[in-house]
Each structure stands twice: as C-alpha cells, then as structure tokens.
Symmetry: C3
C-alpha cells in the first residue's frame, strides 16, 4: 500500500475492519478528533470523549462497531479502535530512512561484526567483539562495550550505553541516554567501610522490549538481569541487579525494582511505584502509582499504597485519611463523654 | 562595566540600589556571609541568618533597605537582595568564552544551517535540516536529530539529546544528559501483547526555559508537548507526552507529570511530586514535595499529600498520623469501657 | 597469584581464612550455591539460605567458622564470608585490560595533562586545563569540561559528563551517563519571573566513592557540593547544590537530597527516600525506603515514613493504617452507642 494514495477501504483492509459509508475517500494523515480536518482519519477509543465525535471535522473516524451510524461521516468499524489507530499511524509514519553501513564519524573495532544492513551513525563507538544484526540502527553517540550483542531491527537511540556482554533481542527499542548493564549496587561491609562486589553478570533483554530514556538496568552480580519478551519500560526507571521481569509487563516512569526481585507476566507498575529486593510478584498483578511492594504478591491482584494493600481498601483508607485529624478530635471528645458517663454511674450507684 | 575594576557604587547602579557607607570601595567577588573576606560582597536574603551579618568580614553586604545602619560595614540597599545577588554574581561570572563555529571533532550534516556565531563543540552530531541560531552553544557530545531547531543564545550542555523536529526557543538552558523528544509511552493492548503507538508529535520549549540534568521530556503522540516561557525544571524530572506546562513554573527534582496533563502559569511542584494523566492544574498552584495529584486542582491553592489535600490539612493529618497506633489502642479501650457501661445499665434496668 | 592456577588454600591466604578439608583442590570461578559446579567456589552469607548449602554441587563453599563441618565439601572458613566473596570475585574478574594513552577518536585539548598511564577512549572530549592521573580510564564518550581533575585509578564509564573545575579523588567509579557538576537549581523571583543564579561552585568527590548511572550531582552555588570518602551512590539519585555527604554513606536508587543539606558519616538512605534543604542528619542514621526527612535528625537513629518517625513507630503505624476505614466505621458506631447511653441516663434521671 503506497503512501499518499490510501483510501479508507485500504485502511480497513490493513486493520481488518469494515467501512460504514464511502470507502473510496482518500486519507492522508491521522489527527485527534478535535483537530482533524479534511483528509485526516481520527479515532474514538474512549467512550468518555463521544461528544467530540459529533463535532469532529475528520474525513473519517475509527470506532467500535457498536457506534455504526452514530454520526453522518464515514466510519471505520473495528473491535479495537485504539489498536487500529496504532497500526494506521505506523502506516503513515514508517520511521526515518537512514543509509546503511558504518557512517563517517563512527568508531568501530575491527573485531566487531556489523551486518551490512545495519546503520551505525556518527559519534557511535562499537567495541571489540560486538555483534550487530541486520536492520539495527544505532543513532548518533551510542556507546557499545565489548562483546555486547544487538538483535535484528532493534533501534538504539542517541547517547545510550550498552555495557560488556549484554544481549538485546530483536526489535528492541531503547530511548536516548538509557543505560543497559551498569554495575549492580553491591558492597560488602568491612567494618565501617564498604568493599565493591564485582558485578560480572549480564543484562539480557528479549525481543520486542522497549526501554525508556535515562532508564537504568543494572547487570547481574553473578547471573543475569532479565527483561522478558514484550515488556515496555518508561523513562527514569531503575531495575536493579538480578531482577527478572516477566513477559508483556508495563512499567510507568520512575519505577524502582530492587535486586533479585522476580515480576511475573503481564504485570503493570504505575508511576513511582517500587519494590524491595528478593521478592516474587505473580502474573497479572497491577501495582498502582506510588505503590510500595515490600512482601511477595500473589497473582491476579490490584494493589496500592505503602504499606501495600488491595486497591479497593486503599481507596477507602485514602478517603479516611483526610478525616484523620477530625477522628482524633472526636476521640478526645468521646473519651470525655465516656468519663462523664462512668462518673455518673459510679455516683448513682453510691 | 569592566571586570576587575568595580566599585560598590557601580554594583548599586547595576542593580538599581543605593549605597549606605563608602561607595568607592573596590569589589572583586561574591561570597557567602560566613566565608566572605576583603574585596568580597555578600548578601542577606533570609532574615533568619541575620546573626551572620554581625560576624561577617565581607567588604560590603547586599541587604533590604530596612536594615540600613544595622552594621558598621558598607551596605548595598535594595528591595530584593536575592535578585541583586543573582545579577551581581552573573556580572562576576559571565560564563566561558568559547570560540565560535563548528569546532574540530563535530559532525554536522551539510543541510544543517548553523549560524556563524554559534558554537558546536567536538563530539556533537548535528543531523540534516537542523537550524541553530546565533549565540547558541552546543557543548561536547550533544546529539541533534533531523529538523530540530534551537533559538538564539541557548546553551545545550554535554550529552543532551534533542530528537527530530523538536523546537527550543531563545536563551533556553539544557543541563547535561537531558533528553528532549523521546517517544511518549503509548501502547495499544492486543490481547496480552502491546503494540507501539508511533509518537509523531514534537516537544516545543519556549524562551528562557531551563531543563535539568537527566530530565526527560517526551514528544507528543500526535500534537506537541509544550513547556512555556520561563519555566524551570530541575534534574531527573519526567514530563510525559502531550503535557502542557504553563509559563514561569518551578519543578523540583524527580517530579513526574503524566500524559496530556495541563499545568497552569506560575505553579510550583516540590521534589518527587507527581500527577496522573489528563488532568488540569490551575494557575499559581503549589504542590508540596511528594504530593500526588490525581484530580484536577483549581487555581491559587497550596496542596500536599497523596491523596492530595490542602497543605494546612495535610499538616494536621501528618501530626495525627504519628498517633495512629495510639488511637487504635485507645479505641479498643473505649470499646471495652462502652461495653462495661452498657452491661451495667442493662443490669440496673433488670 | 596467577589466574587459572588457584587452589582453595591460595584463596584462604588471599582472604585471611582457613580451609576445612582438602586445600589443594583447584578453583576456577565463583558461582551462586544453586548453580555452582565443579571448579566453582560458592558462598553462604545469609544463614537463611542454609538449606542450599546441603544441596550445592560447588567444589568449595565460603562460610562462617561456626559452620565448620556442616557439610562434607571443602569449606573456606572466614568471619565475613560476604567480604571474602567480594575479594575472591575481584580476583577472578580483574576488569578489562585496556591499552593506555589517548586512543584514536578521542579529542583532547593541548593544555590538558593526561598521565601516560591513563586511558582515554574514542568519543571522549577532554577540555582545556583538565588533569587526569595515572590509571584512570575514561570509557567511550565521556565529556570533561575545562579544568576538571580526576584522581589516580578512577574509572569513568561511557557517557558521563564532568563539568568545569569539578574534582574527583582516587579510585572513584562513575557509572554510565551520570552527571557531575550540573548547575544547581537556583533562581531569584523577580515578580512572576525567575532570574537564574549562576552556579559557580564545584563538586568535590573524595577517594573511593562510587556514583550510579544517570545520577546527578549539582555544583555548589558559591561553595562546593561534597561527597566524602567511601560513599556509594546508586542510580538515578539527585544530590542538589551545596549538599555535604559524609564518609561511607550508602544511597540507594532514586534518592533525592535537597540543597545545602549535610549528611553525617555512615548513613544509609533507602530507595526513593529524600530530604528537604538546609537540614543536618547525624552520623549512623538509617532512613528507610521512601522516608521523607523534613527536619534535622540526630545521630544513631533508624527512621522511616513521611512524615518521618522512628522506624519501630512507623511499623506500628503502617499496620494500623490498613485498619483505618474500619476504625472510622467503629467510631461512628461508638458515637451512636455513646449517644444511646447518654439519652438513657438522662431519661433515668428524669
């Protein structure tokens, strides 16, 4: 499907949806409901914004089939409008077209093996023994230490550092200035002083993982720190040594995972949430923003707060917390009333 | 006013203040009250430190006019001593004098437009279509992606990454290793897996903004993430996609602002405070350190805590919280006393 | 002691321990108890994992002398097994052997003084007046501003930025993309707008300090920000201007220390803990994870929570917090019961 000659029908085919209305109209871009104009397709993922649907001037709108006929405009009906939006947006923005090869201004060790279909931009330093597969892009200023490996079609943004022997899978995306394989934070006390424990393990990142800007993933002390397939990690997240992150997890910005903690599959950690070390968190667990995990968590739970508790209990607690000073004042009054009653009864019984 | 031949009178002219005492004394530098010696001017911004005023050996001190005559030394009387201190310190430390032009060791694409009065240091990579105005300094190792723009007299410190099409205004300062324009954190669930939503918007940073070290500002999904004129953002702050930050805001270190949230003018966010996404915070709002904003906040309020509450209520709650275990113990005693009373009355009425 | 020809007896000599069993067995590496095989030495630091001791297939195990004879295998008996592990691991992993000198692809100003026994890798930019001592390694892409100094045997990882005039002692380790000497966050309000206060002090880092990845240490406004000997700072930590960190402190990831705060010797700050500015924290203080320090803290205390309280009180409070909604409900019932009692007594006395 060539860019610039796309009909609404073509897009329906792309995302496996159906057109309601004129399928031959030409679509040239994607825009939000409130800013879309002629030639733009838009989307309604959240029913909360349905009022915007009636006012939009988009050429067409991606909606759930239950909304067929909701407005006069052409609609693209599909069960997961947000997912269809992601696919159509990817179609219109295929990413930059960079030349292949080691570009001028990059420094590559002669023992590194760079696939001829990879791109190594200026300012990159690729050390001895590194292996870089086809389709990989190292944006400017990426630093790769000896014997690291980067799998096919991975995109490593500017300023990222990948330390020795770390392994990245295929289609991994690393945002700028992230650090993969920094030393874990391990010291043995020798009286008052601390002696560094060498961190000789690796970081292993499986396929389809995304790592945010300035996120730090420490290498294991002896074994590996592992981020499994499909997990997505936001900016400024800390993953400590020997942590194990399951498949398809979501970690929002500024999360901190302590050493040797194991997180199951398909978990979600809200912003600024954190765990202690050496814990196990089961599959399908959600930790709300700021949640502090200091004990193991069984699978299939939604937890919040610090100390951590079920999210529905946290909501009750949070409401109560705003009444805390009032509660204390009332307790003082009740203590007084109790005393009065007790004295009265003693007196009557005298 | 040449460096090295400055009198106290000259400085008074510079800051629009008045001299009390000898105006012809020579001032050669700025130092804190407790370390200032001959030739140094010092300042008293906070009346709390007034005792230091009496003990200082500074040649002169910048004070509020209400302190005229407080000590024997020459004084520079000005309504805002801290602001005068900032201006005088800037006079004595005008910043490094760097050569202009593209310095050896920088890699600049032939289609980039670099003003001849800009400085591009070694290790920088400037991509196709970038525009850099007069007076800009790119310190070593700055990476600029295609079609980004940097306005006049902006200073970009080492290791900063500015991604494609991002726009920085005039006199913007970016501290080392900050990231401007990383992909927003957006994924559409496809069953258990997540599909990346391309982030095709920009970051727009207006004039006189400062961005801290290792701070990350994500690009918008479709529209722009915007930081308006004069806002100052500390280190390790996360600003998510499509957030809108008003003019003259202050964000202390480790703050996290979630996606699409709009912050008004002249707001202050304390360290480690955070917001949920899609919220509106009015003008002149202060969020205390660690405050967690999960609902809209009206203008002109001082809020704290998580859940968020007015700061004065938070102070009461915080005091009460340290009594929480005692309160629970007393409640158990009161329950017992109530039961005793109830039984006693039942018995009497038998 | 040459690598590859080490006996258990040699290792006992190295760490000042004693062998129980066959001292002539050959040791080729270090592995955890549950994965160690022939030729591996392992260790038991935490009695909690003693069951693993019985099942291990390690060639030998480092244990406390009290465990002599606990299993059939050769043991290395030493009072601090974890420390011995650190030393033996360091023996087997002596770090990379890099060529000395300024390597091709580095840019070094002619006025910089680089010891011939230092290593400056490709992609580094070393500015005017910088001094780098013997044994220092600047990994690829390190940016050093004018007049900074780096002491002997320090290791600066890729992407680190060290700004002007900052001073690092001997054997300092800085993990990738950390920032030393960014401007402190200081602005003087001028009505609604803010005027930048030049930050003209330095960062001084003493011997044997370690700084984590993407950690930011701001320079002092006038004086210096100081990190004293032996302190270890994890990833993504913020240390603000003019902070003073004592010797042998431990700062876990994502800690934030505000401006001018002074921390004593041998303090430990748990993950995501933070302080306000202008405070004093005494020696040997431990702040638990997420602790928020907003007042001075005397020496020799273990504190937690926000508001901060003694850790043992925090534990009680945390338990109570999960009962908060129940407490409020019970208070409402007690209020009702009290009222009933009061009415009953009034009635009786009528």
């Amino acid at each position: 499907m060539p860019l610039g000659a796309v009909t609404l029908g073509d897009l329906a085919t792309l995302v496996g949806g159906e057109v309601s209305g004129e399928a031959n109209i030409s679509i040239r871009g994607v825009a939000p409901l409130d800013r879309a104009g002629a030639g733009d397709i838009s989307f309604l993922a959240n029913p909360k914004y349905r009022s915007q649907l009636e006012q939009t001037t988009a050429a067409a709108v991606i909606v759930h089939p239950s909304l067929a006929g909701a407005i006069e405009r052409p609609l693209l009906l599909v069960k997961n409008p947000y997912l269809a939006f992601a696919r159509i947006l990817t179609h219109f923005h295929p990413g930059p077209c960079l030349p292949q090869g080691v570009l001028p201004g990059a420094v590559v060790d002669s023992s590194a093996i760079i696939d001829p279909m990879a791109t190594v931009c200026a300012g990159c330093v690729v050390s001895a023994g590194v292996r870089i597969a086809a389709g990989v892009v190292l944006h400017p200023g990426v630093q790769v230490y000896p014997d690291a490996e980067i799998g096919a079609d991975s995109v490593i943004h500017a300023g990222v550092v990948i330390r020795e022997r770390c392994v990245l899978g295929q289609r991994v995306i690393v945002q700028p200035n992230a650090v993969i394989g920094s030393d874990g934070f391990g010291f043995a006390p020798d009286g008052q002083r601390y002696v560094k424990i060498p961190q000789v393990g690796r970081v292993v990142i499986e396929d389809d993982v995304e790592i945010g800007a300035c996120t730090c993933i420490d290498r294991g002390t002896l074994g590996d720190t592992v981020i499994r397939r499909g997990s997505k990690i936001d900016n400024l997240v800390q993953i400590a040594h020997n942590a194990q992150i399951g498949e398809d997890c979501i970690f929002v910005a500024q999360v901190g995972i302590s050493g040797s903690t194991e997180i199951g599959r398909h978990c979600t950690f809200g912003g600024q949430s954190a765990t202690s070390g050496h814990l196990k968190v089961g599959d399908n667990v959600t930790i709300a923003a700021r949640g502090g995990v200091s004990n193991n968590v069984d699978a299939n739970q939604v937890m919040a707060g610090f100390p951590l508790m079920p999210h529905r209990e946290w909501l009750k607690m949070a409401t109560t917390m705003t009444h805390l000073a009032d509660m204390r004042r009332e307790m003082q009054q009740m203590r007084q009333r109790l005393q009065t009653l007790e004295q009265q009864l003693v007196k009557e019984n005298d």
